[in-house]
């Protein structure tokens, strides 16, 4: 299949299937709790219901509050276009696109925080302050881990990093990948407001972090926010699972394997949410610093095991004499 057509197909499959991820997480949590749980398609039903509701806006808010969900959802949709989650190129693939991915997630976070502050309520302020705190500590772990993987795979584009076909578990390269997956999983849990960082099911004002930032949104805005959250789960989960899932080169097998990998990530999230309690607030930065330490360890190991290559430099790597005019 042609590359651009495949990229569009990946993109559309992700847009359609993303709400399945929270469904799987909730189903796993229900199984652990001995309940039947909500149907797997519940998130679609919720979004459809919300799209039909009326809106109530606070008198304090202005256009920033109304723009928050829209810009956030747009940002994460473009981020989805950057991620080659099924192995082959995405819609917007280039050298260094991992930075654009992080930047777009940053846009989503920025507009969510200022939309929360626009309500003039102390609850949203609290959530916004904590969200800013955790995400600022999660970014270094994410980018440093990706640097370690870039070293082992010898490429700085997501397509090059995530699209390889072999993985030797016992080798040092394997150790690097496992370390980085550990670090990225912690960042995944933090960014998507899952236990042990934040509880998505609590609605006590003083204990919510992500939930309280979107407290005053309703109706269509809240539908956008819910859908954006599922896409963010897909993007970050796709990043993690792509490091492990082998690529076969056949597009239908790759997409199927990737969807399976995402289901595994969702199940793992559900298991973690069921067996762990939420960490005390002051312990969360330690968890994120531990993730940073794992990423740094991964980079150090990658540096030891992968010698320097000249692949990323132009042919003539010799220094040229100074030519700045004096």
């Amino acid at each position: 299949m042609e590359q651009p057509v495949l990229a569009v197909l990946q993109f559309c499959v992700a847009l359609v299937l993303a709400p399945l991820v929270p469904g799987i997480v909730n189903r796993v949590k229900a199984v652990f709790a001995g309940r039947r749980g909500a149907p797997l398609l519940q998130t679609w039903y919720d979004i459809a219901k919300l799209l039909g509701k009326a809106a109530v806006y606070s008198r304090t808010t202005g256009w920033v509050f109304r723009a928050g969900p829209v810009v956030g959802l747009a940002g994460v949709i473009v981020a989805l276009g950057v991620l080659p989650w099924a192995g082959s190129g995405a819609l917007l693939s280039f050298d260094g696109d991992l930075i654009l991915l992080a930047g777009l997630l940053g846009v989503m976070r920025f507009v969510t925080i200022i939309a929360a502050l626009d309500t003039g309520s102390a609850f949203e302020g609290m959530g916004a302050s904590r969200e800013a705190w955790f995400s600022s500590l999660g970014e270094p772990a994410l980018l440093l881990g990706l640097a370690a993987i870039a070293r082992t795979r010898g490429s700085i584009s997501l397509a090059g990093i995530l699209g390889v076909t072999s993985f030797a578990p016992g080798s040092a390269g394997g150790a690097v990948i496992l370390l980085v997956i550990g670090a990225l999983f912690v960042v995944f849990l933090a960014e998507n407001a899952r236990i042990p960082v934040d509880d998505p099911n609590t609605h006590l004002e003083l204990t919510m972090i992500h939930e309280v930032m979107v407290l005053d949104h309703g109706g269509v805005d809240f539908a956008y926010i819910q859908y954006g959250a599922t896409l963010k789960l897909w993007v970050l989960g796709g990043l993690i699972m792509s490091l492990l899932v082998p690529r076969t080169g056949q597009w239908y097998l790759d997409i199927a394997a990737a969807i399976g990998g995402l289901a595994v990530v969702a199940i793992a999230t559900g298991v973690v949410e069921s067996i762990m309690a939420r960490l005390r607030l002051v312990r969360v930065p330690q968890l994120l610093v531990a993730a940073l330490a794992m990423s740094a360890l991964g980079l150090a190991l990658a540096l030891m095991n992968n010698p320097p290559t000249a692949a990323l430099n132009p042919p003539s790597a010799a220094l040229n004499p100074p030519s700045v005019a004096r």
């Binding site: 080798s171 040092a172 150790a175 330690q286 531990a290 940073l292 794992m294 740094a296 150090a300």
Partner: protein, 216 residues
């Protein structure tokens, strides 16, 4: 076999980071005991030329002491003092982890430059050993509770033992036995001492023991 030894040594480094970053005493004890188990198995993976029965005996004794006896001694000390959570350390946990990363980078940079006697030793062995020893030293310096300092001492001994495995050309097993005996006696004595300190002063805060000095 050499494939797996790299991952093994990485696990060793992770247990050191685990010790640095955990605030609960039971978690620290778990980290040190896992470290001990890994070190017990290390001579088997390194392919030292000695009769197999000696290697297995060595591994068994190591496992018994480091994997079972030391944790039990430490748990008994914890219970006798009735301390569950550590008091506020001198260096915070996040900062300890970051310093750990810096120590790791330093150990890697220095370790690869050291000349190894045998050609077959894995590259990561000396850095891992150095890192474990330095972590143990840092824990002794940076923490207040005497029990955690004892665990730091254990980690340091583990690191030195691993280092001994790397550089000892003849009879590495003798070196190993020597350090084991040393560590066993130390932990035993430390456990008794902690119990007595707690009985006398009602705390095991090593920082507050400085009030014992003579000058006003």
């Amino acid at each position: 076999m050499t494939l797996w030894i790299e991952s093994f040594l990485v696990l060793l480094m992770i247990t050191s980071l685990w010790l640095l970053g955990s605030s609960r005493l039971l978690s620290c004890i778990a980290a040190v005991s896992v470290q001990g188990v890994l070190l017990a198995a290390l001579p088997l993976l390194l392919g030292i030329d000695a009769p197999p029965w000696r290697l297995f005996l060595q591994a068994g004794v190591s496992l018994g002491l480091k994997g079972i006896a030391f944790p039990l001694l430490l748990l008994r000390a914890v219970r006798s003092v009735d301390a569950r959570r550590e008091m506020e350390p001198l260096v915070g946990y996040s900062l300890s982890l970051l310093i750990g990363v810096a120590l790791l980078a330093g150990s890697l940079a220095a370790g690869v430059r050291m000349p190894l006697p045998a050609a077959g030793t894995p590259v990561l062995l000396v850095p891992a050993a150095m890192f474990t020893a330095l972590t143990g030293l840092f824990v002794i310096v940076g923490r207040r509770s005497a029990i955690v300092q004892a665990m730091g001492y254990l980690a340091m001994e583990n690191g030195i033992a691993a280092f001994g495995l790397a550089i000892a050309e003849q009879e590495p097993l003798l070196v190993e036995m020597g350090t084991l005996l040393d560590a066993f006696v130390a932990v035993f004595v430390m456990g008794i001492t902690i119990f007595h300190i707690n009985r006398e002063f009602d705390h095991i805060d090593a920082d507050r023991l400085s009030t014992l000095k003579d000058s006003p």
